[in-house]
Symmetry: C2
Subunit: 608 residues, 2 copies
């Protein structure tokens, strides 16, 4: 149940896929080259392995507990978070002006994967702070930024996202929380928010809630939603946590997994005793972030950051589950080899189907990691390159990839976690083993920050139909270029990868054509295939990135990297496995989309 | 969270697929026609819905507890089991000579599905008794049968299967439990067994353990294993539970799911205080079942029955998860339709991807149910027809289908349970909702009674390679006949189903050819594809059975079944959905098998 951070893999992908050296060559990027990355990853790996990972199981056994409005987190979590903050990890990718280290998102993503793998529950706290920081950076006034960003970036305070209400989940048009202006320019917020991750806890001095609410008189629907910053404690004149705001935590949820992370119900403006409500009447004091009625746009900034981060959680849980399953498969002795090569029972890693499961976990995890770091690199390039055209291209690529990273990597994480249980056989079902925790923990990933279907809607509507398939086809063209590189090799491994990639790309293009043909005329038919489309695209991009790593590995093998021979051979084997075992799924997905729409609508809802 | 037993579906499948009327026309089958079936299903449905289903959630919240060697089951379980026994449900399919009702296995299977759906945890107890009864019927002496069968069939006593030991899971060659002969013809058993379902409980007067152990001096490996009957209480001269045997329950497991069902560690012959060990020394008294050193053969009888039953559990959990998800999707209002047909938010069942998920659950569940009842009907025919050739054919068909029912229906049950969580969105992750329990409960199904890989080994080795693919090809020929029937229709729904079936059958045959070509020469390559082969075959047979139901529904619609119009239309829509959304998966599975073997072995275990 220990965790070994995959530092070498992360570094290889940062170099080969995220374009870290290119970023380091851009103005202001001098400090983000491979040497820096190696040093940062090494430090982060130590923290993840030694400080955070040992808390993962205790967090499941002794989850956060709610009592009288307060939440006591798992023993050890607060101290670990203090150490995390002291190491400067919260500020890794945030601007130096607010105390951050301004390192690339790609490098921060690599670090985040390790922290998530160490403990999904723990890592949610800094992840939500990241989102709050992004939102304030994107839309906050100078005053807001100067007041709230330094303690958030430092990790002294933490952030939350408050979107969901009982009647408003995926459908934010139904948000009912209300905001009334005060004479001093501040607002008073009232309403109930649910599913608020780390909405209350004992790991920081203050909690900064970013809350969607309707200003009095605002229009109905999503165009009447504004974003407010509502702290747990209002700062005193020295900027320290002062009066308690009228925000009460009325309970936390009993969940299937990530039990250590408190999922709070928050009552804003309920007249909490001991808060400002005692003297000033009910209503949580809040600050408008960005323009009135444009809260959703800012929330999308935050949500995109969070969606990408949840995709990393999918990679992380896949890695953690894989490591645990592999360790078990190497040590559990059971059954003789089917090829008769040994008369005694052998470790189950020798059995073909165990091998298939482990390779599937490995390939999915490495493929999703590669896709996530590709996306992060594109995001960095979009922010850092001085070339406007390159900026726009990188931004469009990043935006296309975000729903794939969130949607596909989390589905893949669930698949790996479930396979991890399966590799353990009966022991996998016993909670003491720990494999089941990964499965339980993983199950939220395809749901929060937008379900897979919500990601698929985004991919189809905003990222494919809106530009007439332009970005989708650019992507396919880039993939074809990789196929051509693979074609220059006579090696059968490259040929297999190339063939898998080509068939998957053709499936992808056929689906894109179908979507463009039906998106407007028959939206039910198009959206019936939205999740299969997302899964197809996720497979294709992950397989493509592994193919790029395969090419890099082949180049490495022809150099004098003798020490790395085994490592590079393993990269080649993984890419080839992905191409022959996982990419073929695109054929089924393509047929579902193209031939399946009518049959899906054939049954009226009443006849289900 | 209520459960409505799918009586109509079960009856339709019994009639159309299991050949119930044919069975009723055979000698001795007079009482098993459709009228009897309808009456029995109706009674069983009431019991399942009203008595057992309400215990499912309490069983999760207040699982079985172990204390001082005793297990206290969830309040209500013992009373419900008494009611189950009093209703004669334990004896449904067992011989009248021992107090049973001698009804067909197909009808018993339909009833078992309902009981499993009501509560997997509860239903395991009678399921294990069924296995013990089958083993005694197959191999027990007259004396053993006369002593032990009546109370088991009556449900006064219950049975267990004791195979697993810490070092012997899938690999029974490693069983170490030992048996020493006594002068009186009985044996003394010593050893530790783990994962014993209902190995200890408070729901019956006595527990009858069937235990694999090695007689003193027996050869190593599976050819030295014998089967012993070891009761918790030795019967007194009136046949009532008398002296306590030397069998101790030293603990039960803390599991991911099916928490109400106690999973016991049993110590045989450990010198339990208060048992016969006090006066006669340690050693559990046991009776040899069948011949010495041939215990595994008898255990296989029991295991085949149990494997089939676990397949039914897969169907059951799929149905339960589907019903819960559908109810939620009909009541949860969120988001406007993508086709702009309504300006207000609508129940989520209207959204295409929710529809896709619900249809997937529905189609998988109905397809697996259809396959299971086909198999049960074949088993009945094999036992009841006087025609020797027909008997042999039906037996071979049944044996081919058992690994599919166990392997595929349980994987499908997991997929449905996971989709059920997904349909609920965030609420699915909250334990109070109940959707997560189904996922946790389902997760054992692909593991116990032989993992999916073990089923796949059986399918490939014993059921495909051994007869040179004969049964596999017979199956394909029968499927082709259904395709021809479909071809006689001009209806597009039939055309889609036919096309899906044809492509899947061709994939199947290509894989069978691959297996026959490589099974002996390159067993690693063949077994690398064993689970994909099983999944492919399971999809094909399920889709085929739904196609047969589609044809029956079409015939029904052309008759005067006006009242059933909606029902029959729904059958057609489901078969068509299966053919266009689920059968296409065979293309990916075929490529995995045929093109993927080499890439799976490319990475040496040490380089993982």
């Amino acid at each position: 149940m220990t965790y070994t951070a995959p530092v070498k893999d992360l570094l290889f992908a940062l170099e080969q896929l995220a374009g870290l050296e290119r970023l380091a060559a851009l103005p202001g990027g001098e400090d983000c080259g491979l040497d820096t990355a190696a040093a940062v990853l090494g430090e982060c790996a130590r923290l993840a392995q030694e400080v955070i990972a040992p808390l993962n199981r205790p967090g499941d056994l002794a989850p956060s507990r709610w009592q009288h409005g307060e939440v006591r987190t798992t023993p050890g979590f607060a101290a670990a978070f203090a150490q995390f903050a002291a190491g400067g990890w919260q500020g890794l990718q945030h601007p130096a002006a607010y105390g951050g280290q301004a390192l690339p998102k790609a490098l921060a993503a690599a670090c985040a994967e390790m922290v998530h793998a160490a403990s999904l529950s723990f890592a949610l706290c800094p992840m939500l702070s990241d989102g709050a920081i992004e939102a304030l950076l994107a839309a906050g006034s100078e005053e807001l930024k100067n007041t709230w960003l330094p303690p958030l970036v430092e990790g002294r305070w933490t952030g939350t996202m408050n979107l969901t209400e009982p009647q408003a989940g995926s459908d934010l048009a139904q948000v009912r929380s209300r905001a009334e202006p005060q004479a001093d320019g501040r607002w008073r917020i009232a309403g109930t928010k649910i599913f608020i991750t780390y909405g209350e806890h004992d790991m920081a001095e203050n909690i900064v809630h970013l809350v969607l609410a309707r200003a009095a008189g605002a229009p109905a629907g999503v165009k009447g939603i504004s974003l407010f910053l509502v702290p747990k404690f209002l700062p005193d004149q020295d900027g320290r946590p002062g009066q308690r705001n009228d925000v009460a935590c009325t309970g936390i949820e009993h969940k299937l997994g990530i039990q250590a992370s408190p999922t709070a119900v928050l009552a804003f403006g309920g007249g909490l005793a001991g808060s400002i409500a005692d003297t000033q009447g009910p209503g949580a004091v809040g600050y408008l972030v960005g323009e009135l009625n444009r809260g959703l746009e800012t929330m999308f900034v935050m949500m995109n950051a969070a969606r990408f981060a949840v995709g990393l959680q999918g990679v992380a849980i896949g890695e953690r589950a894989f490591q645990q399953a592999l360790a078990y498969a190497r040590e559990r002795v059971q059954g003789r080899p089917v090829d008769g090569s040994c008369a005694e029972a052998v470790p189950i890693v020798a059995h073909p189907d165990v091998r298939r499961m482990l390779m599937t976990m490995r390939a999915l995890t490495e493929g999703c990691r590669a896709m996530a770091l590709l996306a992060a690199g594109a995001c960095d390039l979009a922010h850092r390159t001085p070339d406007a055209q390159e900026r726009a291209g990188a931004q469009a690529r990043y935006e296309f990839l975000v729903p794939l990273v969130k949607g596909f990597a989390t589905e893949a994480g669930n698949e790996s976690a479930s396979l991890g249980v399966q590799v353990h056989g009966g022991m996998g079902f016993i909670e003491e083993t720990g494999a089941a925790q990964h499965l339980r923990d993983a199950r939220i990933l395809t749901i929060y920050e937008g379900t897979t279907a919500i990601q698929a809607n985004d991919l189809l509507g905003r990222k494919t139909l809106r530009d007439g398939g332009a970005q989708a086809r650019l992507l396919a063209a880039d993939i074809e270029a990789t196929e051509e590189e693979l074609a220059q090799s006579a090696d059968p491994a490259e040929a297999q990868t190339r063939q898998g990639l080509r068939m998957a790309r053709e499936d992808f293009l056929e689906v894109v054509d179908f979507m463009l043909a039906h998106g407007k005329t028959d939206p039910n038919a198009a959206y019936a295939g939205s999740v299969p489309y997302l899964m197809l695209a996720g497979l294709l991009v992950s397989g493509w990135q592994l193919a790029r790593l395969q090419l890099a590995a082949r180049r490495g093998l022809s150099g004098d990297a003798a020490a790395d021979r085994d490592y590079l051979q393993a990269k080649i084997a993984t890419a080839r496995f992905f191409a022959t075992h996982l990419l073929p799924r695109t054929a089924a997905l393509r047929r579902q989309v193209v031939a399946g729409a009518a049959s899906m609508q054939a049954l009226p809802a009443a006849l289900f």
